[in-house]
């Protein structure tokens, strides 16, 4: 008897909890899970074709149809977390009536693997530069219809000549940033000015055992290769081997390889330095007030995140996606976005109206002499395995 009561009670409490969660929060949000399927019934049959569909001719066939198409009621955006200013989606819905929900991924690799495996349903994705390159080659993206994105004219001209997508056929730059070093200003007056000092650290240095590197094979190898004065996208195994040795030697002074919390750890004083992205540090500086950022003497990396439209969505969703992209290119929206997370906006019109504190911040918009020392990370095809293996060796070194 007692057990039956227990089960009944458990059932009631669970149902109550689920009812609370179902009602809590704005109810419109509950719909995406149920409405999205309507648009995707056709998808499962399209998806299997993707394995062989490398050529990009397929997207072009849809363009003539788009003239009569109305935008979808709602779309799903696949984005990094906390990468939109809070009101952005609401403002878009107010303006167009299209609802947006956002799913998050936390690495370009996860995003790529999921799309390659055949996941569909995302109207807009936000990959980084070299991932866009890969996706274009793999035929995972649809070409943009520039007629639906008049705000493209707002882009700073240099962002229309991207190495990975000249002419913005497939994607529109969203935000860009740099990778360098952040440090705790309270505990360290003079941080090491160069990678040389960091990689050759000894116990006498204040930062020995108190700094982290990114847990990212390409970023860390870029740092080592840049320090050695080599091309950070080299396919020369001998140079790569040299870089590997540098990293192994430096490992004894490394407190950890961290891509997620490094800025928190610096702010909290657990570590003195961290290899990381400018925006992250600047946002943390808001909270901790004791963080500063710089690019080491030898140089660093620069990256651009982009909005693209993947395959496998309906023409209605594509139109809605293009409308969203257009919306983001609005100067004021670009301003909202850039000032929210301290990353640089590629929108020339935004820069004209933005707060001078933001536009003249050298940590967000590095001056030319520093720009010259920043390098892109580019995809290397099968050679990535070699980098990965070297990275595995560094990680497993004792």
């Amino acid at each position: 008897m007692q057990r039956k009561h227990l089960f009944a009670l458990i059932a009631i409490l669970l149902i109550a909890m689920m009812a609370v969660t179902a009602c809590g929060g704005k109810t419109p949000e509950a719909k995406p899970a149920t409405e999205a399927p309507k648009k995707e019934e056709a998808k499962p049959t399209e998806a299997p074709k993707k394995e062989e569909a490398k050529p990009t001719e397929a997207p072009k066939k849809e363009e003539p149809k788009e003239a009569e198409v109305k935008p979808a009621d709602e779309i799903v955006v696949y984005n990094w977390s906390d990468y939109v200013a809070p009101e952005m989606y609401e403002l878009f819905t107010e303006k167009t009536g299209i609802k947006i929900s956002e799913d998050n991924f936390s690495s370009n690799e996860d995003l790529l693997a999921k799309l390659q495996g055949g996941a569909t349903g995302y109207a807009v994705i936000v990959p980084s530069d070299y991932t866009v390159s890969i996706m274009i080659e793999e035929g995972l993206l649809q070409e943009l219809n520039h007629d639906n994105i008049p705000n493209l004219k707002n882009l700073d001209p240099e962002f229309t000549k991207l190495y990975y997508d000249p002419g913005n056929k497939y994607c529109v730059p969203y935000l860009w940033g740099t990778t360098g070093i952040g440090y705790n200003t309270e505990q360290m007056e003079t941080p090491p000015a160069s990678w040389k000092q960091i990689f050759n650290t000894t116990e006498e240095d204040a930062w020995f055992g108190r700094f982290t590197l990114l847990d990212d094979v390409r970023e860390v190898f870029s740092a080592a290769l840049i320090y050695l004065g080599y091309d950070n996208n080299t396919k020369d195994e001998a140079k790569l081997e040299e870089a590997k040795q540098v990293l192994i030697a430096a490992k004894k002074g490394v407190a950890g390889y961290d891509t997620d919390n490094y800025e928190d750890l610096v702010g909290a004083g657990e570590n003195l330095l961290a290899h990381g992205w400018n925006g992250d540090f600047l946002q943390a500086a808001d909270e901790y007030e004791n963080i500063d950022y710089y690019i080491p003497e030898e140089g660093g990396t620069i990256w651009i995140d982009n909005m693209c439209i993947p395959q496998g969505i309906t023409p209605e969703q594509k139109l809605a996606a293009e409308m969203y992209i257009n919306f983001v290119l609005d100067p004021e929206i670009g301003d909202l976005l850039g000032e929210y997370n301290y990353y640089a906006s590629p929108n020339a019109e935004t820069l004209k109206i933005a707060d001078p504190e933001y536009t003249s911040n050298p940590l967000v918009f590095p001056p030319d002499e520093i720009r010259a020392k920043l390098h892109f990370i580019k995809p290397l095809g099968e050679f990535e395995s070699v980098y990965q293996r070297m990275w595995d060796e560094v990680k497993s070194a004792q």
Binding site: L112, Q116, G256, D258, N261, G381, E382, Q388, D392
Partner: protein, 287 residues
């Protein structure tokens, strides 16, 4: 109906029909994909090219990966032993509690794991960090230590995190086995003048072995493949076999090699598991 009663083979198949069908379709078929992928060439950025090759299998036996496998095995073994040492008494405690309380205790055991894994792990980081971790800061403030203890970013932290995470999984099957323990057997042992420790080792322990075996396996195998916990608590400085496999699919875009690594690891584990169970069945029979 009668035919059913008299034919145990038929009964077995009837019972197993649905689960077997399910696993065949939704596990073995997908597994076949991974198996086939092991013999194909990698696509440039992921996926595969339809060309047969044995290169992936050959690469699996590269010393780097073997070394990593051994290290992961070491961590997994230590984790399992510690979890067993800590978990068995806990299971015993619950099994010996008054019947009404046992259910509650089992729930209480699992509830911490209904919170989010990441937050739990970060909570441990907060405790263990060297310079700002709660433990070190408290001990330093109380004057108990001069220099902070190295509790984070090393094997200690990794094993602690794994033991913590898998403790309930060890306790559950041991409890399930112990709960069934017949008190009268123990009473009989005592009547025959066995000391309580002899009673334990000669009666309780052997009867709980199936639970111990199950628990050990359920802890060892996932610990072997673990990589998120080691990444967060070990500061990412240590490479586990789980990382390597994951990196192949994600970072290196080399799905065939990731598949080959997975297949080889699975075969090795399967063989080990089968031997392990044969051995525990034998030990059981002789006690």
């Amino acid at each position: 109906m009668e035919r059913l009663r008299r034919n145990p083979q038929l009964q077995a198949w009837l019972i197993l029909a649905i689960p077997v069908a399910f696993i065949l379709i939704f596990f073995m078929a997908p597994l076949l994909i991974v198996f086939i992928y092991s013999f194909l060439e990698r696509g440039k950025y992921g996926g595969v090219e339809w060309a047969f090759t044995l290169e992936n299998i050959r690469r699996v036996f590269d010393p780097l990966y073997f070394k990593t496998f051994l290290r992961s095995a070491y961590i997994a073994i230590v984790t399992t032993l510690i979890t067993l040492a800590l978990g068995y008494p806990l299971a015993y405690f619950i099994a010996k509690s008054p019947p009404k309380r046992r259910g509650m205790l089992m729930f209480a055991l699992m509830i911490p794991f209904w919170t989010n894994f990441l937050i739990r792990t970060y909570a441990w980081v907060m405790l263990l960090r060297t310079h700002t971790g709660l433990i070190n800061v408290t001990l330093t403030n109380w004057g108990v230590i001069d220099k902070p203890l190295p509790l984070y970013g090393n094997d200690f932290a990794i094993i602690l995190g794994l033991v913590y995470g898998w403790l309930p999984v060890m306790v559950l099957p041991i409890y399930a086995a112990l709960e069934r323990l017949d008190e009268s057997l123990l009473e009989a042992a005592r009547d025959l003048y066995a000391s309580s420790s002899k009673a334990f080792w000669r009666v309780t322990w052997p009867l709980s072995l199936p639970g111990v075996a199950a628990g050990a396996m359920l802890v060892f195998i996932p610990s072997l493949g673990a990589f998120v916990t080691p990444a967060i608590l070990g500061g990412g400085k240590s490479l586990m076999i789980g990382n390597i496999i994951s990196n192949q699919f994600l970072g290196a875009h080399d799905w065939p090699f990731g598949s080959a690594l997975s297949m080889v690891m699975m075969v090795a584990m399967l063989v080990a598991t089968l031997f392990y169970f044969k051995w525990t069945k034998k030990t059981e029979a002789t006690t």
